[in-house]
Amino acid sequence: MNLSAETLEKIDATIAQFPQKRSATLPILHLIQEELGHLSLETQEWVAEKLGVQPIQIREVVTFYPMYREEPIGKVHVKVCRTLSCALSGAYKTCEKLEEKLNCKRGKTSADGNYTIEFVECIACCGSAPVVQVDDKLYENVKPEGAEELAEEIKKMAAAEATNAAETPQPQTPAYFG
């Protein structure tokens, strides 16, 4: 397990917050996935040991929740909401446009490993539908006509990710949205 000292520290702090260790399961899995990109079986065993539970108890969590992944994905993760409010505003067309521009089918990772596009269910921003979440950033009102512009931005993100892989900046004071 190759976790940074910072993540290890955060993991211990997270466990200390809860009256029972096992409650830290979801937050810890997020922390690890954010650093390593996915949750391998080896990782899951490590978490189980850390929390004093059986590996299967971690695995059942990893497989239950849509946000956890057992396989690596592309450098940039594009999630398009497909639920009703977004669909009414054109989300299916928006997604098709992104698929076309990024040369990547939804549910798949592009051949160059740059993008993964996924349909997701309502992400609670229905008033400015259609919405697309790219990694932790939210884009609102992404009408099919505006999808091309977003695709360009996503391409830049992947390029930046490739050059700065080693020194990705830490998140700043969060903006209101996104």
Binding site: S23, Y65, M67, L84, I123, A124, C126, G127
Partner: protein
């Protein structure tokens, strides 16, 4: 009846949301009298605070509308076990995005509401279970909790009193069912979000770690703050009898100005909201259908009429536009106020695709514990999916409703109802359209070309 004049908003919870210059840091919050009510509350007796909440009649804002004071009364205070307070920030009901504004734009209001509620219930530990996708929302809350801790509003000896209470944040990971309170508790215990059978697992008695637990919605905690500010009886004067306070309407879909609007309960109608505040339908379009309070509430059809008697015996005869915006009136029309997340559909909408879209959601989100929900939701999803892609039979239309009827009321949690209600309400109301579409499909028509595909 088309109302032109927009109704007045009554901003209680959203007083500071989107106000120019208002920021999320604690200094700004305190400049706007933030944490004054916690300071006041902490000097009172917890049972008196609980009585105020009971007197206010405030109802939960998470969807089911259960009176908060009553929920708190059910808490087992004799067991000697710790009492936990949990804030449900999962906001997973499609159409609903009201809690997001509080979390992202006024986080300290939520923290103050949680701390007042925790003190009122003698809880020494609170949790915020926030949906996984709100990555920045969780960061904002973490930072706000740190600020509040430094200022003495969270943690040890709050406001210089004997009382201590911490708040921990847990981010979910994309499962709708973790919004259901017992599914949420399981998830908070680090497990799959499988809802528990009630009884015996009423959270008020056997909740988190088998201890008495209060689960309330984000907005509900904010209302508690305003109840304590005004006093229960004063608060109860806002709104109407049986539905006090304000409601936040999050309108999405086919209107000119989608958005959130906070209105006094019962002060105006859907017509006022949709025409007045939301600017009416898109150019050249007519309203066709409305899901009033989050996608699981029963659908209303523009053009249908609702007749009956009010509780005081007065007869009513309303179109959708005339329905007053309060829980009682909306309930009289066979649907629910829910979370106030209204989804509007105009005449470009293919109603079969709309239903297929929702069925796909509920099929995806069933946790799989009970057979009627697991099998029924997938069956419905497959059927409507197939009907949209052109291989439907006329018999499928009544069969849809039959399946839904077999799910509702036969499951561990209310997801079963959420699966059934869209189908049970849409099939009778749009049957003709469904049958016609089935006939037309022979000619290869997939969706109404005026709108967007919904599936």
């Amino acid at each position: 009846m088309i109302q032109k004049k927009p109704p007045e908003e009554f901003r209680l919870i959203y007083k500071n949301v989107d106000v120019d210059g208002y920021t999320i840091d604690i200094d700004c919050y305190r400049k706007h009298d933030g944490y004054k009510i916690l300071e006041k509350a902490i000097k009172e007796k917890p049972e008196d605070l609980r009585q105020e909440v009971l007197n206010s009649g405030v109802r939960g804002r998470g969807g089911a509308g259960f009176p908060t004071g009553m929920k708190w009364k059910f808490v087992d205070r004799k067991s000697g076990k710790p009492i936990y307070v949990v804030c449900n920030a999962d906001e997973s009901e499609p159409g609903t995005y009201k809690d997001r504004q509080i979390i992202y734009k006024d986080p300290h209001q939520l923290i103050e509401g949680i701390m007042i509620s925790a003190f009122a219930n003698n809880a020494a530990q609170a949790f915020i279970y926030i949906r996984g996708e709100f990555i920045n929302g969780a960061r904002i809350l973490e930072r706000a909790i740190d600020e509040a801790r430094k200022a003495g509003f969270v943690g040890k000896n709050i406001c210089g009193s004997e009382y201590s209470c911490e708040i921990a944040i847990c981010r979910g990971a994309g499962a709708y069912i973790c919004g259901e309170e017992t599914g949420l508790i399981e998830s908070l215990e680090g497990k799959r979000g499988y809802p528990r059978i009630k009884p015996p697992y009423f959270p008020a008695v056997l909740g988190l770690y088998q201890c008495p637990t209060i689960v309330n919605n984000v907005e509900t905690f904010c209302h508690v703050k305003h109840v304590i500010d005004r006093g229960g009886e004063e608060y109860a004067k806002i709104g109407i009898k049986g539905d006090s306070g304000t409601h936040i309407w999050g309108v999405s879909g086919h209107v000119q100005r989608p958005g959130y609007y906070e209105l006094e309960a019962g002060s105006c109608t859907f017509g006022d909201l949709l025409y007045g505040l939301c600017g009416g339908p898109l150019p050249g379009r007519k309203f066709k259908a409305l899901i009033p309070g989050g996608s699981s509430t029963k659908i209303l059809r523009f053009g249908e009429r609702f007749e009956g008697k009010l509780p005081d015996g007065t007869p009513f005869d309303w179109a959708v536009e005339d329905i007053p915006l309060d829980a009682n009136s909306i309930g009289l029309c066979g649907t629910f106020l829910g979370t106030g997340g209204s989804i509007v559909m105009d005449d470009s909408t293919d109603m079969l695709e709309a239903l297929a879209n929702l069925n796909a959601f509920y099929g995806h989100e069933s946790c799989g514990q009970c057979t009627p929900c697991r099998e029924g939701s997938l069956w419905l999803q497959k059927m409507t999916g197939r009907m949209c892609s052109g291989s439907a039979r006329e018999e499928d239309v009544p069969l849809l409703k039959d399946i839904a009827d077999q799910v509702a009321g036969r499951t561990i949690c209310a997801h079963g109802e959420a699966v059934a209600w869209p189908v049970q309400s849409a099939v009778p109301k749009f049957k003709d359209e469904y049958l016609e579409k089935i006939k037309n499909q022979a000619s290869g028509q997939r969706f109404n070309p005026a709108g967007y595909p919904l599936i």
